[in-house]
Subunit: 307 residues, 2 copies
Amino acid sequence: MNKKFALAIHGGAGTITRANMSEEKEIAYRAVLELSLKEGHKILNEGGSSLDAVERAVIILEDSDLFNAGKGSVFNSDGNHELEASIMCGETLKAGAVGGAASIKNPIAVSRKIMNSEYVYLTGKGADEYAEEHGFEQVPNSYFYSDFRFEQWKAAQGSEKMKLDHSVDKKFGTVGAVAVDQAGHLAAATSTGGLVNKKYGRLGDSSVIGAGVYANDTTCAISCTGYGEFFLRGVVAHDISCLMEYKGLSLEEAAQIVINEKQIKLGGEGGIIGVDGLGNVSLVFNSEGMYRGSINQEGNAEVAIYS
Amino acid sequence: MNKKFALAIHGGAGTITRANMSEEKEIAYRAVLELSLKEGHKILNEGGSSLDAVERAVIILEDSDLFNAGKGSVFNSDGNHELEASIMCGETLKAGAVGGAASIKNPIAVSRKIMNSEYVYLTGKGADEYAEEHGFEQVPNSYFYSDFRFEQWKAAQGSEKMKLDHSVDKKFGTVGAVAVDQAGHLAAATSTGGLVNKKYGRLGDSSVIGAGVYANDTTCAISCTGYGEFFLRGVVAHDISCLMEYKGLSLEEAAQIVINEKQIKLGGEGGIIGVDGLGNVSLVFNSEGMYRGSINQEGNAEVAIYS
């Protein structure tokens, strides 16, 4: 016990600039990010596990309608919502994930349950059924409705009906958290509503172990936010871990190579948050902004939005 | 052009022993594996791409009812069939995958189409819709029926109704192919019906880029077969590639570490087939057997089943 603990979170990356942000909106975003950090910190400070901390931090973000995850999830092409989430334990390399869920209030909590089962990855109606059978809160699809997301969807439909949306509102809404606890164990969690107007049961990287999430006590815990197709092809979270494990790079060096060299070469936009076993935090992105924050052992929280 | 080309295939790993194999069955398995190798070799020999070769080799295996992929896919807990497949191009790092598909005759062909679209990973009914809209052959779920699979499912239901099947018939049915072509480009493809009696929309590693499939011209092309949950947690295919890229190991060294050290430590059973840019082939498994084969430039095919 009593190793240096730390927590970092993100609320999505993309074209986030001061020019298209009102003061009220910025205050609201910062308040939720700070609450998420403080709730996670409380758990770590009391000697709780990094898994408990990242799950709690992500639930705060899922329950806010500001971020594209949980309550604030975007519309798919059918006018519905399909949620993805994943969680991984660095000590045991256990992992759990849901994809294409439609009636789960907190996908990250269900992912945690799956992590402790014989399964890793449950999808579609089956994921909803699993959640219901195991007592998790079910919500009607209307729970995810907001005027803002509806208007965003209508705009996406009008411009590029059959395409993934990334031009209408170039913002890769995802939330995530990574932490190292007093016992030195790492954990990572990611949750998203995916891309606006997505169709064909499209999954991105957020529910894919190795791509949008990865944790390993010997290296790091990583949560990603970005254009899912490119992050899948880059196996981003695991790649950062491998650069540390096999090449001896630091977390920051590895993250810089993967996000600012390899992803840019591939055409991928987005970022990552990461923490290593010593409590070092990296917040790396190649987009204009990323909702992000971190908090150290002393409880000093830092929240930022622009680059 | 005219680099050394090679192709390797697998038809699943697990408890496959001479004791539980009849002579007729063994002859039938060998015949399909040899046909798959020869069809793939023909493409490579004529200067075709490794992508064409692995797709063709896998289609032969999907169309046989002997292997748990395509036509021979196992039953899920509802008495239906849900197919997974993935393909990756080592030159471009493009990838395509389907998960939870129910009416696609050849999931690997649809994965190839997705690879060349804006998507990477399509699932459930959406994957079926995508296939139909793009002109791929649709089949009723009864296409996948066979007495053998039905009896296997009934046995699984009787013994452990709610569990993933891996004890009734400890055989991780999956098919896959990897190849390097005359231009030195690598490709990998994997396809499966998943685990017998699976439920909750369970996905394994076969449709997950980095886990059940990976290809990168700078290292190797890998297709996996094994207990999906453990292969997902190990990010197996990408891990082999990273050990080569970042630690300078050979394909065989990297595959041995991942399958015979890391997977065994994690509790995972199964194997991989791999090829590198020089045409070296590795067929590595920690189970009792693996349906497998390889063919070199000269057309010498080798097929094996037991360890």
